[in-house]
Symmetry: C2
Subunit: 341 residues, 2 copies
């Protein structure tokens, strides 16, 4: 939908755009709501939803820098990140609430791009944006744009995945290659030139989870390895369930350009954030069924088995390296890559 | 609950505290979760909720500056603001999701104060914080702390207030004095010295709405006059419903110190934000019942009738002044007071 006041495209966000008056109403009516595909109409303080038998809720703030990167931007990321947090609890999204914190002076054209991307990502994920909020802070009080997305979901019947439900003799499955999102953002931010070869994997994972639904309670654990990377996800599961895991380095899908970028930057691909893959823990006898189901949807086309759980070292995650040695995969201490999501 | 590592009190937030690794886990375990009264346990990507017959959702980002002001702080405000947005749709809160964006270098002691205030406000409102997120951005990329709170609520049976449901011959009721929140924050921020006489009215309004529940569908419209003040709330209702309103200036409860502060600052008290009062539109024959119900709870003790709706000038809000003249109450253009909530 076109903006009825194209002159805005050379204009910038003013403090008054966040003040709840006429300027706020204009920003919403001419930019935010059209981008989100929202029907015009009275704005209320809160949105009503249809009855929910088993609601799930998740919230995430997105502060990624830069706002645009190969494979996505803060708008699409703000949808995918929250949809995926719901999916990791076995839920599909029902509604999104989106809250913006904008720095005074941000170009309206740029804000429009982000909001259109957010609207498109939400439409692709088949989830409406039902309510939101817009705040503007003065120059220097924020870095251009932060987006907080909250998702309300509905648990798929039979699924009750939880980090605490991992058990010994589970297969550890990974739905796709690791390290793409973090290295794509870092390369763009720092001008490292990998951008041509690396794009973020950012995508919604609820359809992949839906494909796993026939396994029901057999899906012990789902986790998307975002901040802290696969290392953090595996350690959180190990800690929550008290179950150790053994990961096979040779089975880990690390794309060549990601490996090269990590080598150059001194990063461990296991610590780099992802936004479009998940780990699934299922009982060993169900592993082939689960892999087949995952590979049946595009997001899971390259799903692989990367390891197994064990009662031998509760709570600890170990890596069997290519050269036949073993090392512990630790929880990352802090962040090698700030503002990655 | 005491922090097990009191040395932290002289320490500051690091970038790594938002990175999803060990530092994040430590911040959550030693500061955030105890302050929120959350039971320790595995952290999941999303929280499950009990079945909801008529769910309502609302989200708000809070960017108030300063973080602490007479009558509240960003933590309590982040609870009250969202609880009240739910209440304005006739809902009581069931769960809150809280997302933090923290500037690197913020004192942990200050963050703890805010989180304890947030936890106390949530407990007082009888609503649990069920999920959240923590991001840290570098120095200068945010102004200390922004909080986004999303509330999930349950609509009270029989209530379906909406800005669009105002009708001619409604009484316009106001639950308490106006102008306190905005002037309290401004006075503190600018060091104007009104702080001794003015405190924010910030408080949760769901109990006041519950008191109105016996009027059922007779409660046409509820609105809390936050950003843009009473002028914005009245104009939004007039626009959404196509119903005009006539407000009696002599009936408007403007506390003396607020009037003095507004005089000095050239502000119109009708444009100043509130965080603890609401306007209710009810059919004239029900007005006394509604006032009695409102005055029965502490938040509504000083509820008054401030005007009535009319078919005479659809969509327009007029003020009958003390001197007997009439003027239009316009929608404020932008904000006289940025970062007020």
């Amino acid at each position: 939908m076109q903006c009825p006041t194209p002159r805005q495209e050379t204009e910038r966000v003013l403090l008054g755009h966040g003040a709840g008056g006429r300027l706020t109403a204009e920003l919403l009516a001419t930019l935010v709501l059209p981008a989100l595909g929202a029907r015009p109409g009275p704005l209320e303080d809160a949105a009503t939803l249809p009855p929910l038998e088993s609601p799930v809720v998740s919230t995430d703030s997105f502060v990624v820098s830069p706002l645009f990167f190969p494979g996505g931007d803060i708008g699409s990321l703000a949808v995918h990140g929250t949809v995926n947090d719901l999916a990791m609890r076995g839920a599909e999204p029902v509604a999104l609430a989106v809250s913006l914190i904008i720095e005074e002076g941000m170009a309206l054209a740029e804000l429009r791009s982000v909001m259109e991307s957010l609207g498109k990502a939400a439409a692709d994920a088949e989830v409406p944006v039902v309510t939101g909020d817009t705040k503007v802070v003065g120059r220097g009080a924020a870095d251009r744009l932060f987006i907080t997305t909250t998702g309300i979901g509905r648990r798929l019947p039979g699924l009750e995945p939880s980090a605490a439900r991992a058990r010994p003799n589970d297969a550890v499955l990974l739905s796709g290659p690791i390290g793409l999102h973090g290295t794509a953002v870092l390369s763009t931010r720092e001008g490292l030139g990998f951008d041509a070869d690396i794009a973020s994997d950012s995508c919604p994972l609820h359809r992949l989870v839906r494909a796993l639904a026939p396994l029901g309670g057999g899906v012990h654990t789902l986790r998307d390895p975002t901040r802290g990377g696969l290392a953090a996800a595996l350690n959180e599961i190990a800690e929550a369930s008290g179950t150790g895991a053994e990961i096979d380095e040779a089975a880990l899908p690390v794309p060549g350009p990601v490996a090269a970028a990590c080598d150059l930057l001194g990063l461990d691909p296991l610590h780099v954030a992802n936004e479009g893959c998940l780990v699934a823990y299922v009982p060993e006898p169900r592993a082939d069924d689960a892999l087949r189901a995952m590979r049946g949807v595009p997001e899971g086309a390259s799903a692989v088995r990367v390891g197994r759980t064990t009662a031998a070292h509760p709570g600890r995650v170990e890596l069997s390296t290519r050269v036949g040695s073993r090392r512990v995969i630790d929880m990352p201490l802090g962040e090698q890559l700030p503002r990655i999501c």
